[in-house]
Amino acid sequence: MKRESGHSHQRAARTAWSWLWVVLGLLYFLVPLLATFLFSLRAKKGVLSFLAYRHVFSDPQFLQTFTFSLEMAVVTIVFGLALIIPTAIWVHLRFPRARVLIETFALLPFVIPPIVLVFGLIRLYSRPPLALVTSPLLLVAGYIVLSFPYIFRAVDTGLRSIDLKALTEAAQSLGAKWGTTLFRIVLPNIRAALLSAAFLTFSIVVGELTLAVMLAWPAFGPYMALVGRDLAYEPAALAIISFLLTWGSIALMQLLSRGIGGQGSAAGSVH
């Protein structure tokens, strides 16, 4: 009996500790968020109001910069996936030894700061025949480099969750060409992974500062920095808005990937 009560005592103590850490963790994340939110409501002296939010939404630059970044994000996602999906499939099916090389590449954006990347891009593409420095394509190319690790990891995990070799061979033995195999078999079965890649890229591009500033594009990141420098309450409102946008994206990802059963859903647990 004594031993049993000792055990239950220990268990209770462990549970209490676990809860303590959970609460501490939540506080760590939620307190700054709550503080920012409360601060953002104090634009009008003495009362809590959404004045700062009204200011943000009424500023035409908010919509312009956000739309610009949204467009850039969509183009980056399309080109990024178009580049990385075939590469990942090729590595899986034909050249597994290239994985080490690709994984090294995937680490580079973490090692090389964006400022170094952007100076490299400017130097390389500022004179003919590669005078691309005024084209948004260069910005997209930079964004693809930054989001490459996330897209590759997501797609790679998606491909690992299915038996890619057997599925593509089965499709081919049934008469399918590569296009049919890719669009009817491979992509639908890694849909959750693709969504995950797309939304991660979206978050990176929408908040990105360095490339957009250095290449002089009116993007959302520089706009947020500008607002943060000049105003007091609006940056807090913007922070809350971008937080909600991010969570909205994640919720959308969950919603869209729901209903993908079996192996497909495994790809949803990428991040």
């Binding site: 057997a166 089965a170 033995s173 049934l174 399918a176 078999i185 079996g262 192996q263």
Partner: protein
Amino acid sequence: MAFVELTEIGKRFGRHAAVQSFTLAVEEGEFVSFLGGSGCGKTTTLRMIAGFETPTEGSIRINGAEVVDMPPNRRGVGMVFQNYALFPNMTARQNIGFGLKVEGKTAAEIEARAAEMLGLIHMEEFAGRYPWQMSGGQQQRVALARALAVKPRVLLLDEPLSALDAKIRVRLRAEIRSIQRQLGITTIYVTHDQEEALSISDRIVVMRDGRIEQVGTPFQIYNHPATSFVASFIGSLNVLSATVVDPTGRRLSVDGQVIVSSEPITVDAGKDVRVSLRPEMIALQNGRAENNHLTGTLSNVIFLGSIVRLVIRTGGNEIFLDTFNNPHLSLPSVGETVTVGFSRDACRLLDQES
């Protein structure tokens, strides 16, 4: 002319030769199994016929046409995989209809053919299920129906039953054979399970180290193995160490007891040889004078259901003897001295040529 002709096929991966000088002719409607241990080249050969591997040398002809340079999707070859490879995003009906959709058939044609195929595998009620909602056996039947739906010229099966449990394996192999007979489709089946190959095939190709060891009917392979590898790979086999006593009289000594073989002995007297004996060819105390006899101690009795296996020790050798089970069977007890008999034809000499 044979329907599928493989001529001097070879496949190298770097310096490793996976398949060497593989020549085989498969007749139309024939069921041929490739049998061998892992790494013997049987799956590589099958994948070369499917078009998933390109042979380093040799030619593959299907219905008279060379297919080596033809991509897999144009060969008209149906394939069933070990792990089913059903498309997870499609129901059983959609999986079966996939090949027809690729061919550009109308929705009505696809529907009708899918229903026919589901009937063939007795799974009409599973039409709307996704792969993850079906058992392994059900998935493999759908995979078979999917491969057959496009009416392939040749059906290839790569260890289709090895991921299933024993009871389903036996039932499904009978089903595969019956469907194959019904449709008369030329079939090549890869397995490492000798019982499966013996029970299902018209002919068996026994492979080892990328080469063909023997091609023959299950009866020929089992009863007249061409090499010691085939003899030991097919069925359970007693391999006894013996010494040649008199090559001309075909007399051998097993632990000091003399037996006679019906096979000519090409090894000199005093040399050691190995003798093979099938367990079912040996009987307890068979008193016929022309037969061989060996006396030893009963060391174990193993009950295997319909068969009872006795293990008899004669000095350095151990002999397995199989006898049919029946409720009135009376067997000697363990430790007793017993004498077993077997015909001269039953003992085959191995390794004589080496």
